[in-house]
């Protein structure tokens, strides 16, 4: 087991637990930021430098800033948020279902590396130029569709946020 993976895996899982257990939304967002950074480091380890850069700039940059902005807009200091969950059965049920799901996924996927052969990586694997080549040749239609999706989301977000409730 190499220490690079272990370090960032423990960091990701610890920050993930922090994200879902902490009381307030803002520390939770900071925990999520830590998860994103740890995953970016793991992407570097997996020969995906472009994904690592985008992870930091899109997720840790844009998306998390948006979330923090909304937290700032919505949470007024005098509001009592997330009072103690009265019904304990929700928490117990959620935790049991989640742990069951983790176990099921791990058992189900444990032997998969016998199915997928570990191939040696070709020269220049994961370089941005190769990804760009795939993007603009093989996946050009998907690329255009995702740009339309982003445009629709932009219009919808502005419409919803400006509407008087």
């Amino acid at each position: 087991m190499d220490y690079y993976f272990l370090l960032f895996a423990i960091m990701a899982v610890g920050a993930g637990i922090f994200t879902i257990t902490v009381k307030d939304a803002l520390p939770s967002a900071l925990g999520l930021l830590t998860v994103f950074i740890a995953l970016a480091a793991l992407y570097l380890h997996l020969h995906a430098p472009l994904i690592a850069i985008f992870q930091v700039s899109i997720y840790a940059g844009a998306i998390l800033v948006l979330v923090v902005f909304v937290i700032m807009l919505l949470i007024t200091p005098d509001e009592a948020l997330e009072t103690a969950q009265k019904n304990i059965s929700y928490r117990a049920m959620g935790a049991i279902l989640g742990v069951y799901l983790i176990a099921l996924l791990i058992i189900g996927l444990k032997g998969i590396n016998q199915l997928v052969a570990q191939k040696s990586l070709p020269e220049g694997f994961g370089k941005p130029s190769q990804i760009g080549d795939l993007f603009f040749r093989k996946y050009i239609l998907h690329f255009e569709i995702s740009s339309v999706l982003l445009l629709v989301a932009l219009v919808a977000a502005i419409y919803l946020a400006k509407k008087r409730a």
């Binding site: 879902i20 191939k119 795939l134």
Partner: protein, 100 residues
């Protein structure tokens, strides 16, 4: 060198944490962040398989997931702001318009 199994286990744990957070919390913003956690665990698995099978398609897929996640966050947070204007709270138990 960490094998694909280690990445799969890490990804499963992160996905499960997202599910637990989504099922147990009531703050709508934290539910949102749990969904982001699940999306990220799937990205990790895609990149791990991409490296394991020496196929760049997985990495391109992750970039598309980034686009979808950005759209989802923009629309979702706008909906959240609307709900907040309506209910003056981000507690999901208060959003019970469809309940009778």
């Amino acid at each position: 060198m960490a094998g694909i199994n280690d990445y799969i286990i890490l990804s499963c744990i992160l996905f499960g944490l997202g599910v637990i957070g989504f099922l147990t919390r009531r703050n709508a913003l934290i539910l949102f962040m749990s969904v982001e956690l699940m999306l990220n665990s799937i990205n990790l698995m895609l990149v791990a398989f991409s490296a394991s099978m020496a196929d760049m398609g997985g990495q391109v897929m992750v970039l598309f997931i980034f686009a979808v996640a950005a759209a989802e966050v923009a629309v979702g947070l706008a909906i959240l702001i609307c709900l907040f204007k309506h209910a003056k709270s981000v507690d999901v138990n208060r959003f019970n318009l469809l309940k009778w």
